[in-house]
């Protein structure tokens, strides 16, 4: 029997009086690569927070490797937040952010073995230069690499990424997918990623979840990313955008 990395059923999340998610039910096997797609405000980030145990659902169940979300072993899940949420005023160096991933706390003094582990991960992520540059002065792509290193160093079984391609150039993006694929196959890890790029979903993911507050589709990319479902997800009631859907589903 295949182990399920994530199982949800009848999931409903309310933020105040706003129903952010409802009727979410899917099963993602271990070592899967799930792309979450949907328009802005669809509840994608909210779903990630539910999987992390940061947001308690109003109804339904969520299990991550068989445990209730957020209750599994501490380092089992790695999380890469949206870069735009970074507080650029916080004084910090790349190495400290990576070591915070090892420790689960902000480091006062970095021990030698922590430094070695962190440097190894930074090298793999291609960020072994610019170590003296404060985080606030790094580009979006460079920050993303630091966060990748921070995740790899923890050896998580499940890696959650919120719009990781933001701020990356094409080369950096290709490099990131290569790193993610490498990590996934080497450690039998599961990856869940929010993206706006349908091609990325088609080429890299084993599964796709199409969301617009409700679950519109879950399955393999070819099954889910079809005209009607995309229209349901992205089209507004009364004035759909058929042109956008046709253009993007042609290639």
């Amino acid at each position: 029997m295949t182990v399920m990395a994530v199982e949800t059923e009848g999931l409903e999340v309310r933020l105040g009086r706003h129903v952010a998610l409802e009727g979410i039910g899917f099963r993602l096997p271990e070592n899967g690569f799930l792309a979450i797609l949907g328009p802005n405000g669809a509840g994608k980030s909210t779903l990630i927070k539910v999987l992390l145990g940061l947001q308690t659902p109003h109804a339904g169940s969520v299990r991550v490797f068989g445990h209730p979300a957020g209750r599994g072993p501490t380092r089992e899940v790695g999380y890469i937040p949206q870069i735009k949420t970074l507080d650029r005023q916080f004084p910090a160096l790349p190495l400290e952010l990576v070591v915070s991933g090892i420790r689960g706390s902000w480091p006062w003094r970095i021990r030698r073995e922590e430094r070695e582990q962190a440097m190894e991960a930074l090298t793999i992520a291609g960020m072994d230069r610019k170590l003296g540059t404060p985080l606030g002065q790094l580009s979006g792509g460079e920050l993303q690499r630091v966060y990748l290193a921070r995740s790899f160093v923890r050896r998580p079984r499940l890696l959650l990424l919120d719009e990781p391609a933001t701020g990356m150039d094409a080369l950096g993006e290709a490099d990131m997918y290569r790193l993610l694929e490498g990590y996934r196959s080497h450690h039998k890890a599961t990856i869940i990623m929010i993206t706006h790029d349908w091609d990325v979903a088609r080429h890299h993911s084993s599964h796709v979840l199409l969301l617009n507050r409700r679950q519109i589709g879950f399955g393999e990319a070819q099954e889910v990313l079809v005209g009607e479902a995309l229209r349901q997800a992205y089209g507004h009631v009364g004035h759909a955008h058929p042109m956008t859907v046709q253009d993007s589903s042609r290639d």
């Binding site: 937040p81 949420t85 507080d87 004084p91 689960g104 706390s105 902000w106 006062w108």
Partner: protein, 267 residues
């Protein structure tokens, strides 16, 4: 100089000054980095309510102001957490209520002017041994909770990231608010209620200009805080001025120097 160091009240002022400067420098980095300077202001005014109650009841104001201010700090975190009101709104409510109570308490007593002036603007003459014990206890406590520096820093950097690592962020918020509250109460005799928010903010803001890491910011903030208090107290003695403004102006001078140095280097 010798005369200054031999005087008993000046010895007490220096002793209390070094300790409250350490506390303000240490907790100030979180105040600055989390944008909590309004919390500092609100708690200072809550402390005023506690002091006024102490004066009215003819008790040592410190022992009334500590529980009063701690209760207000807990109330602020609780109200912010439980409602959709922003922290500034919760602070504003508690701030006004404590001030209003303080003014009513003071209106009921005769000994308003002399005591209140010292508490509002700071006085080196006012420091008693009880203030030094209270500050010392808090210094010991801040060393005992040293591991919280890493939790607070992590949650300041990215709260959700810290929560996903099971850092108890809400407990951290309560502990931080209480620590800031007690720091404010033990600092008020030297610095004065009106200037305490600035006293918490300026050393940390100066350190922020100079530091690349949060650890360096913490160390520099403490050093600048302690140096400014020592210098400020000397000015207060020499020119017979209230100690609060002397300390704050010294901090501001250090900030200006750091700012000029930083501008020259990068420009």
């Amino acid at each position: 100089m010798i005369e200054m160091l031999q005087s008993g009240f000046m010895q007490r002022a220096f002793l209390a000054g070094v300790m409250v400067a350490y506390l303000a420098g240490f907790f100030g980095v979180f105040v600055v980095q989390r944008g909590l300077s309004f919390l500092g202001n609100g708690l200072a005014h809550a402390a005023f309510g506690g002091v006024a109650l102490g004066i009215l009841l003819d008790r040592e104001p410190l022992w009334i102001a500590v529980p009063f201010t701690v209760a207000v700090s807990l109330g602020i975190v609780w109200l912010t957490e439980r409602t959709r009101l922003g922290a500034d709104t919760s602070i504003g409510i508690f701030f006004a209520v404590s001030m209003a109570l303080g003014i009513i308490f003071l209106s009921q007593t005769e000994r308003f002017t002399t005591d209140a002036f010292a508490y509002l603007f700071g006085s080196i003459l006012a420091v008693r041994w009880s203030d030094i014990y209270a500050a010392g206890a808090l210094v010991l406590l801040s060393v005992a909770v040293w591991r919280w520096w890493g939790h607070w820093a992590y949650a300041t950097f990215d709260r959700e990231l810290a929560q996903s690592d099971h850092v108890p962020c809400l407990r951290g918020d309560y502990l931080l608010a209480v620590s800031i509250a007690v720091t404010i109460v033990v600092s008020m005799k030297l610095v004065g209620i009106t200037l305490i928010a600035a006293f918490l903010v300026i050393p940390a803001a100066t350190a922020r200009l100079l530091a690349v890491t949060f650890r360096a910011m913490t160390v520099i903030s403490i050093c600048i805080g302690v140096a400014s208090v020592l210098l400020g107290l000397v000015f207060s003695w020499e020119y017979d001025l209230p100690s609060g403004p002397c300390v704050i102006l010294t901090q501001a001078a250090v900030f200006t120097l750091a700012f000029a140095w930083k501008s020259l280097r990068s420009g």
